[in-house]
Amino acid sequence: LLCRVNLSASGMGVVEAENGREALELARRERPDLVLLDVMMPDVDGWTVARELAADDRTRDIPIVFLTARAEAADKRMGQQLGGVGYLVKPFDPVMIGDFVENVISRVERGEREQLTRGITSAGGP
């Protein structure tokens, strides 16, 4: 809800999934420009979703930003290994989420995807 409201306010189209399984279906169907992925989800967790998206030709290139309460270095490394382009630790300011997502998308388009992935373990979020 928080993300949807704030992203919509930035003029972005948002589709929401209740859990991991739904997220995978949605991503394959909608091919979004970016996935905001919670790690702690019932059923299929965020790591698994990221792994499956990467394994699927249709969704491989969709950039993923992890969104989680897990703040430990090991978790950030996991997000990095799974090719995430951003890692947001809760609590974060949802008002800034629109700018953050826009910035990530434009940098990915400029071909800075690898830098973003590397940045997960060093820099924070918005």
Binding site: L1, F92, P94
Partner: protein, 697 residues
């Protein structure tokens, strides 16, 4: 001895008879010598007499006693060689008597004597023999020239035979007496040595026993652990002299490298016997020290025996016996006695030390048997020499399995494990390292510290820290869990407030309501987690107070269900089934807390929905309240662990089933404090049943 006149033959025979009676009465060598040299010499018409015997070396003649000669002249004749050209030497060599009628004849036959006093007259030297073995000679000097006619010769020879018999008998007696004395002394010493395990005290008493019977001085020195000479005892009949000896020792400490005496004996383990102490030796020891020279002169040391206390190839100490002013110089027999004494003393010391070591070992083993830390002793070859019961219980390997075997065989991973453990020197601070030890398929965490002592010998102390480590891990997991758990509601509250305050976005009424509800429910969740953490802390500190009252469990269950109804997902069907509800005594608030928690869990672990039922039943003298779900269920291996503090079915929390890991721990603790029991039955994939049993009133 006044020179008698000549007697007639009958008179001579009568006098000889009298001498024979005297000799028969004499017992000791001194009494025999007295009888020979007084009555005997007089009866033989002589004015002086002397007795010499063959010394122990078989080459020297020792003068035993004399009467009537000038003492100054005789001082030069204490001993003389058997092969000398002298009448006594000749008699001992040949066994035949020598009769010399005048001084002129003497000088002619024995030129070596020609410079001796010329005022003498006739001389007879007679062999002293028993059973044709010559052991000495009797010399008789006359104050006039004398023709030794056959009858006279025969009488003199008869006298010599009687004298020889008596002398031999008395010497035998004396030897026997002396032997008996030695045996008595040895027996006494042995008894003393066996009397106590305090060998220092025993040896001091032994030194005391040696004076003055055996020697004038007795000293016992022991070799210290670093090869130093430690004086254990000094004995002398006069305590004043003993004090003085200790003072002397202070002033002139023994030189361990000295070429003679105790130092030499301790160094070489060889005995040293000086029948007479050569002046040369004393001079060398004294050097230029005038004070020391005065002291040594005053001591008047005459002979010395220093014997080692040797046992099992090692020299433990030395026994030093010295004669001075009162005791005659030592003989070979004294030396042999000293050797025997030292042998027995050494055995006693060795036994006492062995016993003490064994005792110490036994005490240490006893201490190690009860200490909680595992103790492992390895020899330079890595063989296990000690493996105490704690080591056995930590490793699961009995002492029998481990002792006298290479440690790398006993615990195959030993070398790899201990390669990280620094060996510290004895007395240094231990530097324990915690290492994992897999034994019998079970992993234990063991804190190991090592001490290296003596070359190659190592002792390791083991402490099982598996529990501590698990607790530590649970604690750090808890911190991570609690922070995750707090972050999520915090993010929702913060995010909702931030979004509500945006003035650049027009929110729908529906969104606005949802944000406010979110704030409310997430704030409630936060409060509950904080409560749980606090409650767990109170339970730990045993600071939870119960307010017991009579309650109706079905009533409490109904109310729990009622409030749960408000927030469970639509996929969950809640129901209550009451079949008898005995009154119980409990803290109503705490019981409700337990049931709320169990219902929440049932809902949480039923992600696909299903029925969650509360059942209240009459048990056997108790009330049973079951919370039954159709959810994920709990694997058998986890069924007890879920009640542990901080334990979570899904520690990574990736499945989104949140919780502090404290809920069930708190539930069980609370139920047990109300004298009840909380148990679980479950089938993975089919659901779980948690049962609260509380005693009926």
């Amino acid at each position: 001895v006044s020179a008698p006149a000549t007697y007639d033959a009958a008179d001579r025979a009568r006098r000889l008879q009298r001498v024979a009676e005297l000799l028969a009465e004499a017992v000791t060598p001194q009494e025999v010598l007295d009888a020979i040299l007084t009555e005997g010499v007089r009866a033989a018409e002589a004015h002086a007499g002397a007795i010499g015997v063959l010394a122990e070396d078989g080459k020297t003649i020792e003068l035993l006693a004399q009467r009537g000669y000038d003492p100054e002249v005789m001082a030069g004749w204490v001993t003389f060689p058997l092969d000398a050209d002298l009448p006594m030497s000749e008699v001992l060599r040949t066994g035949e008597p020598v009769f010399i009628t005048s001084i002129a004849e003497r000088n002619r036959r024995y030129p070596a004597l020609s410079h001796q006093g010329q005022e003498g007259h006739a001389l007879a030297v007679l062999p002293l023999a028993v059973e044709s073995a010559v052991f000495g000679g009797l010399s008789l000097s006359f104050d006039r020239d004398m023709e030794f006619e056959p009858e006279r010769r025969e009488l003199k020879m008869a006298f010599a035979r009687q004298a020889a018999q008596a002398l031999a008998r008395s010497r035998l007696y004396a030897a026997e007496q002396s032997l008996r004395k030695r045996m008595t002394f040895l027996a006494e010493a042995s008894e003393l040595l066996a009397s106590s395990l305090d060998y220092s005290r025993t040896l001091r008493r032994l030194a005391q026993l040696c004076v003055p019977g055996l020697a004038d001085w007795c000293a016992i020195d022991m070799l210290g652990p670093n090869g130093e000479i430690q004086r254990l005892a000094v004995a002398h009949e006069d305590p004043e002299k003993v004090r003085w000896a200790y003072e002397l020792q202070e002033r002139y400490p023994p030189d361990p490298d000295a070429p003679h005496g105790v130092a030499n004996v301790l160094r070489t383990g060889e005995a040293e016997f000086l029948p007479s102490i050569p002046q040369k030796l004393l001079d060398r020891a004294i050097g230029d020290d005038e004070e020391l020279r005065r002291i040594v002169d005053e001591l008047g040391l005459t002979s010395s025996i220093a014997v080692p206390l040797n046992a099992r190839g090692r020299t433990l100490g030395a026994l030093n016996l010295i004669t001075a002013d009162t005791h005659p110089p030592f003989t070979q027999a004294d030396f042999e006695l000293a050797l025997e004494l030292a042998r027995r003393a050494a055995i006693a010391v060795d036994n006492a030390r062995l016993y003490r070591e064994a005792q110490r070992g036994a005490n240490a083993a006893q201490a190690l048997a009860y200490v909680a830390d595992g103790v492992v002793l390895l020899d330079p070859e890595g063989i296990v020499r000690h493996w105490n019961p704690a080591a056995a219980s930590i490793t699961g390997l009995s002492e029998e399995d481990a002792l006298d075997r290479p440690v790398s065989e006993v615990v195959p991973a030993w070398d790899a494990l201990t390669s990280h453990v620094p060996l510290v020197a004895p007395g240094a601070a231990a530097r324990p390292v915690t290492v994992p030890l897999v034994l019998g398929g079970q992993e234990r965490w063991v804190s190991v510290s090592g001490v290296g002592f003596a070359p190659g010998r190592r002792v390791y102390a083991l402490q099982d820290v598996t529990e501590e480590r698990a607790l530590e891990k649970a604690r750090s997991d808890f911190v991570a869990t609690a922070s995750h758990e707090l972050r999520t509601p915090l993010a929702a509250v913060y995010g909702a407030v931030r979004t509500l305050r945006r003035d650049d976005v027009e929110l729908s009424d529906d969104d606005r309501t949802q944000f406010l509800e979110m704030i409310e429910s997430e704030a409630t969740r936060l409060a509950r987690i904080v409560d749980q953490i606090l409650l767990a802390g109170q339970l730990d500190a045993d600071a939870v107070e119960l307010e017991l009252s009579e309650c109706d469990p079905s009533d409490i269950a109904a109310r729990v269900l009622e409030s749960a109804q408000l927030h469970v997902p639509k996929t969950i069907q809640l129901s209550l089934d009451v079949d008898g509800s005995p009154k119980i005594s409990c803290d109503e608030h705490k019981l409700r807390q337990v049931l709320v928690n169990l219902v929440d869990n049932a809902v949480k672990y039923s992600p696909d929905g299903g029925r969650v039922e509360l059942r209240v039943r009459n048990g056997d003298g108790s009330c049973e309240i079951d919370v039954v779900d159709q959810g994920l269920g709990i694997p058998p291996s986890e069924r007890e662990r879920i009640f542990e503090k901080f334990y979570r079915l899904d520690p990574q929390q990736t499945h989104g089933v949140g919780g502090s890991g404290l809920g069930l721990y708190i539930c069980r603790e609370l139920v047990e404090r109300m004298d009840g029991r909380l148990s679980v039955e479950s089938e993975p994939g089919k659901g779980s049943r948690f049962r609260v049993e509380l005693p009926a009133r």
